[in-house]
Symmetry: C2
Subunit: 113 residues, 2 copies
Amino acid sequence: MSSNPVISSDKVEGTSVYNANGDKLGSIDDLMIDKRTGLVRYAALEFGGFLGMGTDRYPIPWSMLKYDTTLDGYVVPLGADQLEKAPRYESSNEPVYSDDYGRKVYDYYGVGW
Amino acid sequence: MSSNPVISSDKVEGTSVYNANGDKLGSIDDLMIDKRTGLVRYAALEFGGFLGMGTDRYPIPWSMLKYDTTLDGYVVPLGADQLEKAPRYESSNEPVYSDDYGRKVYDYYGVGW
């Protein structure tokens, strides 16, 4: 990626996601954007069959996604144990992004709300 | 759309855009997101042949997009004269989103930076 401080949503969608060891976990399905403020509330990660997780989506705060030019993807430094207990939802059943829901997600990853 | 305060980026992409008279201007091509903050800096509007504008993209601040449930699309209250002089770029030549560039776009539409 370039030094452009912005990135296109359609480039983020589909980008691979790796753990800290460089193992591929899955990819970004889409971004959930606050209608009022335009802030990306979370990226929805799709873990393609990883640990038998099926088609669930894992909401990850934007600030946790670190782009790695060598891997050409995002690195999310989470272990399998953390992901197993992480907030998730069925892809066909997007949650209402209430403050309660958002706080729960951010708290889980220790990111300030 | 629901009362969910968030919307998925892949639902925004491709959504129709209308002027205040309800005439279709084009559609949203994609969203440009600040890598550091996760804030949508602008939506890139594609005006499909409108006024012979070809495939140029028009950067529009997120806050200008008002969703209209009747039209099932966004309304951007801009006249043809405003759009003719509006900032634009070739779709194959995305600008670097410097502060200068961003301010120029926001100033053009009278939106606070």
